[in-house]
């Protein structure tokens, strides 16, 4: 007996669907379930139903609200700078044309570096006392003393400093995607604008950016979601410090679970974090992305 096409398609998708159900959907279900319990960190310890208590505790805690705002600020800093730098590089490569091809390849290299290594090497550049950046700025006459800026020890700027490795790692991605988008802009259009006497700013804001809008939207959404989940680079640089000034949501949840041994509270925080991410994701996917639709 020959099975119908529709059933054949389902059979092809079934293994992947089953995998995602077991290893993504079920753990998420466990996470949500755990958020209603007070759980002892010791294996096999007591487990008491406490209703929404963990949620109230999360909202009452300064750490949770602070981490929420910091995650938002971190994401905005990363995405904005990456976009500006990525667009600049993409325009530069486009204006240089084919001769720049080898440099485009070289520019990709940070994408292959593990975030943990990127965090480590930037920490080494910014660390107090023997960090190279402070020393070079001092030698260039920009700073009176090499330790004037405590990149990773000043709570006021640390959130910006820990974002640098993330920006360094993925500006290449932004550049690559925007470059591909720029190649699709018809040359005639640019020529026509040029003949009409359009100057560079007008060309950028009136022609290039509007034409790139779909590509920009996708790139910003993809990177925004990644940045909001950042963990490795921050953990290795500051572990959330000093005074929690670089503690984003991923770090707070991790520390609540592992350090403070409160799986119930961590699950409640995780559930809210997840819901916020999914809300953004659903919004983005349904309004901008539209996968499966042919153009």
């Amino acid at each position: 007996m020959r099975i119908s096409d529709r059933r054949f398609a389902v059979l092809l998708m079934a293994p992947a669907a089953l995998f995602l159900a077991i290893f993504v959907a079920y753990p998420l279900f466990r996470l949500v379930a755990d958020s209603f319990f007070k759980i002892s960190p010791i294996a096999g310890g007591p487990r008491d139903f406490v209703g929404l208590d963990n949620y109230f505790r999360a909202f009452a805690s300064e750490a949770f609200m602070g981490a929420g705002w910091r995650t938002l600020a971190y994401t905005l800093v990363v995405v904005t700078l990456e976009f500006a730098l990525g667009l600049g590089m993409a325009l530069l490569f486009t204006m240089l044309g084919r001769n720049s091809q080898i440099w485009r390849t070289v520019f990709l290299y940070p994408l292959m570096i593990a975030p943990i290594v990127a965090g480590l090497l930037w920490k080494f550049l910014m660390i107090d006392n023997f960090g190279l950046i402070g020393t070079l700025m001092h030698q260039a006459g920009l700073l009176a003393n090499p330790n004037q800026i405590g990149w990773l020890s000043d709570p006021n700027i640390v959130l910006f400093s820990v974002a640098i490795p993330d920006i360094w790692l993925t500006t290449s991605f932004m550049c690559l995607v925007l470059f591909a988008g720029l190649q699709n802009i018809p040359g005639d259009l640019i020529e026509a604008a040029r003949l009409d006497g359009a100057r560079a700013p007008a060309m950028l804001f009136r022609i290039i950016l509007p034409l790139l809008r779909p590509v920009i939207a996708v790139a910003l959404v993809v990177r925004g979601i990644d940045a909001a989940r950042a963990f490795d680079t921050i953990l290795i640089q500051t572990n959330g410090g000093p005074q929690s000034a670089s503690e984003t949501m991923s770090l707070l949840i991790y520390r609540t679970m592992i350090r403070f041994g409160d799986p119930g509270l961590a699950s409640a925080m995780g559930t809210m974090y997840l819901l916020a991410m999914l809300a953004v994701a659903f919004f983005a996917v349904s309004t901008i992305w539209r996968p499966g639709k042919d153009n």
């Binding site: 054949f8 753990p27 240089l96 001769n99 023997f130 040359g187 590509v215 490795d232 992305w289 499966g292």
Partner: protein, 322 residues
């Protein structure tokens, strides 16, 4: 020689002489501007800059950007060749005062380091194979039969990409230990596959989309079953796409840290966790840390340079299309 060859054009020739480095772009025949100033112009299309002065400026900008961008990793490399004392010298120097391999022998000689490389490779390979085995048929089912369930499924897979790893890492770790898989490369590679599978399905769907449907129809007419047509006709056509997907799945696992931190102890620890541990376990051993980080990164950087065409194809497909 084309008619655009400057030598054939008499007086205009001096205006259009091309530097030898521009053999790829055909010489343009743009005439000099009215005031008689000698200007060299490239044949500029679209956004490409034409004026020589502009191009020089752009090249200088590019050089500056490349130096800024490349420097952090070079500094890591230089540091890894310094003597351990020199790595934390105040003030720091860029180049080693004395080149030595001491950090490399220290780092690689430490117990567990070589084992962690094997674990990393093992985990990444299992995860890559698992991703491909699951993603290839699923993506084919989604693109070829365009059923409503397929559309729902690819949406669900995309949404999975948005899930923060920290949210599923902990329940996943306890699931693995309850089935006796705690601290094994298998458990970690399954966790890594939750990251790479949605991306693989997405990429493979784009590649299948490009295969003409007539191909399998011809095969089925010749007596191939649908599965046979997929295996013998379609898979060979998209083998390039499969390679791209494999690279991404491998890199996702090779560089992953959070799941590795949550799910491994000693036995199956991967190198990123070992690198991070240098910080706490052995005080601040910067020399060994930089050496190990260099050893871990260089194979994948070389891989990128070798396979850059495929990687660029994958990244632009994943984001630009759709």
């Amino acid at each position: 020689m084309s008619l655009a060859d400057p030598r054939l054009q008499g007086p205009a020739a001096t205006e259009t002489t091309m530097p030898t480095s521009t053999v790829t772009s055909p010489p343009s025949t743009t005439a000099s501007n009215g005031n008689g100033a000698r200007r060299r112009r490239y044949h500029a299309e679209g956004l490409e800059a034409g004026k020589r002065s502009t191009r020089t400026l752009l090249w200088i900008l590019l050089a500056a950007a490349m130096i800024f961008y490349g420097f952090p990793f070079l500094y890591l490399l230089f540091t890894s060749f310094k003597t351990p004392i020199d790595t934390i010298a105040v003030p720091p120097t860029i180049l080693p005062r004395e080149w030595t391999l001491e950090n490399y022998t220290n780092a690689l000689g430490r117990s567990g380091v070589l084992a962690s490389f094997i674990n990393s490779a093992q985990t990444a390979i299992i995860s890559t194979v698992l991703s491909l085995v699951l993603a290839v048929p699923a993506a084919y089912g989604i693109t070829r039969y365009k059923t409503p369930s397929g559309r729902v499924f690819i949406m669900a897979a995309l949404v999975t990409r948005m899930v923060p790893p920290v949210a599923i890492g902990i329940p996943l770790a306890s699931m693995m230990s309850s089935v006796g898989l705690a601290d094994t490369p298998i458990a970690l590679s399954i966790a890594h596959t939750t990251i790479s599978l949605p991306l693989s399905i997405w990429l493979m769907s784009s590649f299948f989309e490009a295969v003409p449907q007539d191909l399998e129809e011809a095969a089925t007419v010749d007596g191939c079953s649908r599965l046979g047509a997929l295996w013998r006709v379609v898979i060979p056509v998209v083998s390039g796409g499969i390679a791209v997907t494999a690279i991404f799945a491998f890199l996702a696992s090779w560089n992953e840290f959070l799941f590795a931190l949550l799910m491994t102890a000693v036995r199956s620890q991967t190198t990123p966790v070992v690198i991070a541990n240098f910080q706490t376990q052995f005080g601040l051993d910067w020399g060994s840390m930089t050496a190990l980080a260099a050893v871990y990164s260089i194979p994948v950087i070389l891989l990128t340079l070798l396979l850059q065409r495929k990687i660029v194809a994958g990244m632009t497909l994943g984001a630009v299309k759709g």
